[in-house]
Amino acid sequence: MIIYAIYFAFTCFGAALLMNLWMIATAEGIGDRVLALDTMVINSIAILILYGLTQGTEIFFEAAMIIAMLGFVSTVAYARFMLRGNIIE
């Protein structure tokens, strides 16, 4: 029963990633693109954890942690660049 739920969640987050990619390609403003990239990072964390769940290993949690931190830092850096035209002044 768990494996079908995992397949369902894989399908949902895969479709969500495709929608984010569509948003990055067709958005009219730069803010929407940054938002779509941030959502893409969060969805890919979910997919990594689901893959670790199917494989039964714990090694993907560290990868998910690193992706979470890097995604936050890169989103803040991009928003900072939109605000000020510079990242570190």
Binding site: M1, I2, Y4, A5, I6, F8, A9, T11, C12, F13, A15, A16, L17, M19, N20, W22, M23, G29, G31, D32, V34, L35, A36, D38, T39, I42, N43, I45, A46, I49, L50, G52, L53, G56, E58, F61, A64, M65, A68, M69, F72, T75, V76, A79, R80, M82, L83
Partner: protein
């Protein structure tokens, strides 16, 4: 007992999948940039939280010990999602709004992104 935990894991996974797809669908469906900010930062974060709870329950079921380091990712995501949303909203105000189109800030000054400090010797 194992059956109950399996049902709980499956329910968490299905709910989190629905939340994840609703968040990303809202991102392309809503038509105002500031309403678009709501969908991914709230629904998608909840979706990832559900997957992490399912993962904690799964390690409890299969290895009979409680591993809580998934909670670190949950905590980190729940801490950083509002900060990210605040930064993107601030960038939107800075680029697309003027002080006339915004509601008053309440006190006797403008919103912080429009408020240019002038001749303030205490700032340096």
């Amino acid at each position: 007992m194992d059956q109950i935990i399996e049902i709980l894991i499956a329910a968490c996974l299905v709910i989190s999948g629905v939340f994840g797809i609703v968040g990303s669908y809202g991102l392309i469906k809503l038509n105002d940039p500031m309403s678009r900010l709501h969908a991914p930062t709230k629904a998608t974060t909840l979706g990832v939280g559900g997957v992490l709870i399912a993962s904690i329950l799964h390690s409890m079921l299969s290895e009979n010990h409680l591993s809580l380091h998934e909670l670190l990712i949950t905590l980190f995501l729940f801490l950083t999602a509002p900060i990210t949303a605040n930064f993107i909203a601030k960038a939107h105000i800075h680029r697309h709004e003027t002080p006339e189109t915004l509601p008053p800030a309440g006190e006797d000054q403008k919103w912080a992104t429009h408020d240019i400090p002038q001749d303030n010797p205490a700032a340096d």
